[in-house]
């Protein structure tokens, strides 16, 4: 009698726990997928060559630049083209962002109030560049469904900000391919539930040791004919680079 009672209660408990367990497992899954995609995309450190095209209804502008990164704390950009902008550099060091302007030989610190402003006129904000907020750290993840995108089977994942996180978006939908963890699409929503911008990853090619979507296109939802295309031309991952590289002195001497 006692054993029967025990096994019954055990069953009951299991039944109560199982769905919860299932949800926890799913959350862990989503967490792991986003983390893996992010790590793959970023690498521990990197060095690369990028081309950014800003497309506007009446005109277009292309900027070429070199980039260096170490973790999420350090980041440096050096503009190589067009000629008028050449020599400008941006440095992110911990939570500060600096700009070096060779034409007037001045270093300018970008104030926090500028973080939501466009970077170099593109549809990226200074905040995107700073990566102050992280999709890995600041959001709760939830697996929604499986969808096919650009011929890849993708996990559709919903990100909602953690209560204590200071972030811009109220919701992000991410599409990450099941094999290879390509971030193929992201939709960013504001607090009113409106779509603000869409980012798509395409042009999957081998960069250094890994295959990645090498072209990121960002399109604001409310401005037709506006978009920014960021293309990774070359990329080296997990290079040997020290935090000391990311200094104001170095910024002035980049080439």
């Amino acid at each position: 009698m006692k054993t029967a009672y025990l096994s019954l209660s055990f069953l009951l408990v299991m039944q109560l726990l199982l769905p919860a367990n299932h949800a926890v497992a799913q959350e862990a899954d989503a967490e792991a997928i986003v983390k893996k995609a992010d790590e793959k995309f970023r690498g521990e450190s990197s060095k690369g060559l990028m081309r950014m095209s800003i497309v506007r209804p009446k005109w277009e502008r292309t900027i070429e630049m070199k980039s260096w990164s170490l973790g999420t704390e350090y980041f440096m950009l050096y503009i190589t083209a067009p000629a008028k902008e050449q020599g400008q550099a941006f440095l992110k060091r911990e939570n500060e962002m600096w700009q070096w302007l060779p034409s007037i030989e001045r270093m300018v610190k970008l104030p926090p109030s500028m973080m939501m402003q466009s970077w170099m006129g593109s549809d990226f904000t200074n905040d995107d560049l700073m990566q102050e907020s992280s999709i890995v750290r600041d959001y709760e993840k939830e697996l929604l469904s499986t969808e096919s995108l650009q011929g890849y089977e993708c996990h559709k994942i919903k990100l909602t900000p953690k209560p204590e996180a200071v972030v811009v978006w109220d919701k992000i939908l991410l599409w990450i391919s099941k094999d290879d963890y390509y971030q193929l699409k992201a939709e960013y929503y504001d607090e009113f539930g409106d779509l603000v911008q869409t980012m798509t990853g395409s042009n999957i090619k081998t960069l250094y040791d890994r295959k990645l979507p090498a072209t990121l296109t960002i399109e604001p939802a409310d401005k037709s004919g506006h978009k920014t295309i960021l293309e990774y031309v070359e990329m080296d991952f997990d290079i040997d680079i020290q935090p000391s590289f990311f200094s104001q002195q170095r910024m002035k001497r980049l080439h």
Binding site: I54, R56, W59, R61, K84, E85, Q88, Q99, L101, S103, I104, R106, M107, V108, K109, L110, P111, S113, M114, S118, M120, G121, S122
Partner: protein, 406 residues
């Protein structure tokens, strides 16, 4: 008719005290509401003037998309011939072309967001009278390579006259704009917002800085009479190229318009209550008067005076009381209003801070607009007409026989 008026006038002075007390209630009501409306209208005027002067102008000529999206992309072109045609309009006082866009102002590691405004120094000073706000240093000259900055911006960046300010930002089509400019002067506006952000630059220097040759973001137009706003707007609109537009200050500052309207409505309610009290005051007097003179009225009717004539006498009496109160009230308020128009009451403490944060001068201004005065006269007239209904109906329904026995 003349006799009736004379009789009414004499009747009034048969009981001086009653007449004077009633007239006094009108007198104080008129003084009070004149001074109150004068104060209200005065502060609206000054708020509008301050805002129009520094922010928008009465009218602005812009590219049609500029208001929606304030970028250099939506610019208009500097066109001397067009400006001259606009200035030929007799109702246009003066105009000033501007190129406005934000940039980062910095010194060392301190950085602030600044509103860089390229101006024609000569035209701008006519419109904004900015030279009177120069606190230190000097104002800009035509083609000046230096800048004039707001007092709080100077303070925040620890800049003084003669120091160099670093300005960076994005110019036309996102070309990087970067420059070093000597600070020639520091301006101190009533508006803290302007003090925090303003950087004035000569137009040519600004166009060069933003890589925007010959471009303007707006032309501000000051007009001689705010009441002609719509008319001038139409006339200027007809001169402009197709993708240009005009906006008036009411369109550009709807919040200010709403604020004035709701405040004015509040004033009207207050005034309505005040006059309601006066109305019942007069009505009370008239009722007492009719009751006291019941026998007299009965006698008049009995000896053959027509009811209509008798009613006219009473109506004119009522009217005289109103006129007496209104005229003395208006005359009495003129010196008060006149004094405060020229000597606005300075405000202190928190009220002053709030006003300054709106960009308004911290004074209680008064207006001497004629409308304020004759509005009181009209209201008092309507009051007396309303009050007169009582004696008129009383006279027409009165039975002589009863009245004689009273």
């Amino acid at each position: 008719m003349k006799t009736i008026i004379i009789i009414a006038w004499r009747n009034l002075w048969r009981n001086k005290r009653r007449t004077l007390i009633t007239a006094a209630s009108v007198f104080f009501g008129v003084i009070f509401s004149t001074v109150m409306s004068s104060m209200q209208e005065g502060s609206y005027d000054s708020n509008v003037k301050n805002s129009v002067r520094f922010y928008t102008g009465y009218l602005q000529i812009q590219h049609q998309d500029y208001w929606e999206e304030k970028t250099l992309e939506n610019h208009i072109t500097y066109d001397e011939a067009l400006f001259q045609r606009i200035q030929q309009n007799a109702m246009v006082k003066n105009i000033t072309p501007r190129l406005e866009y934000f940039a980062l102002a910095s010194r060392g590691s301190a950085t602030k967001v600044a509103q860089v405004t390229g101006i024609n120094p000569d035209m701008e000073k006519e419109v904004t009278n900015i030279t009177s706000n120069i606190d230190q240093g000097r104002y800009l000259e035509k083609g000046d390579a230096g800048v004039v900055i707001g007092s709080l911006l100077a303070e925040n960046l620890e800049l003084g006259v003669g120091d160099t300010i670093t300005l960076t930002g994005q110019g036309y089509r996102y070309a990087t704009a970067a420059g070093l400019f000597p600070v020639k002067g520091i301006v101190d506006f009533p508006s803290q917002e302007l003090n925090k952000t303003m950087v004035y630059m000569a137009l040519e220097t600004c166009q060069q800085f933003y890589n925007a040759p010959d471009m303007l973001t707006s032309v501000s137009v000051m007009i001689t009479d705010n009441d002609k706003l719509a008319e001038v707007q139409n006339q200027i609109g007809s001169l402009l190229p197709e993708d240009y537009t005009t906006m008036n200050w009411k369109e550009m500052m709807p919040a200010l318009v709403q604020q004035i309207e709701s405040d004015r409505a509040g004033g009207y309610i207050f005034m309505a209550i005040l006059y309601m009290i006066i109305l019942f005051g007069i009505l009370g007097t008239i009722m007492m008067m009719i009751a006291e003179r019941r026998r007299e009225l009965g006698v008049m009717m009995a000896v053959g005076m027509k009811r209509l004539k008798l009613a006219t006498v009473i109506v004119i009496e009522t009217f005289f009381i109103g006129v007496l109160g209104a005229v003395t009230g208006i005359l009495g308020s003129i010196p008060i209003v006149g004094y405060y128009v020229n000597n606005p009451i300075p405000l202190e403490g928190q009220t002053a801070e709030v006003m300054e944060s709106y960009g308004w001068e911290p004074f209680m201004f008064f207006s001497s607009e004629p409308r304020i005065f004759y509005l009181q006269a009209i209201i008092v007239f309507i009051l007396t007409v309303v009050v007169a209904i009582y004696p008129v109906t009383k006279i027409f329904t009165m039975k002589e026989i009863n009245a004689l026995r009273a």
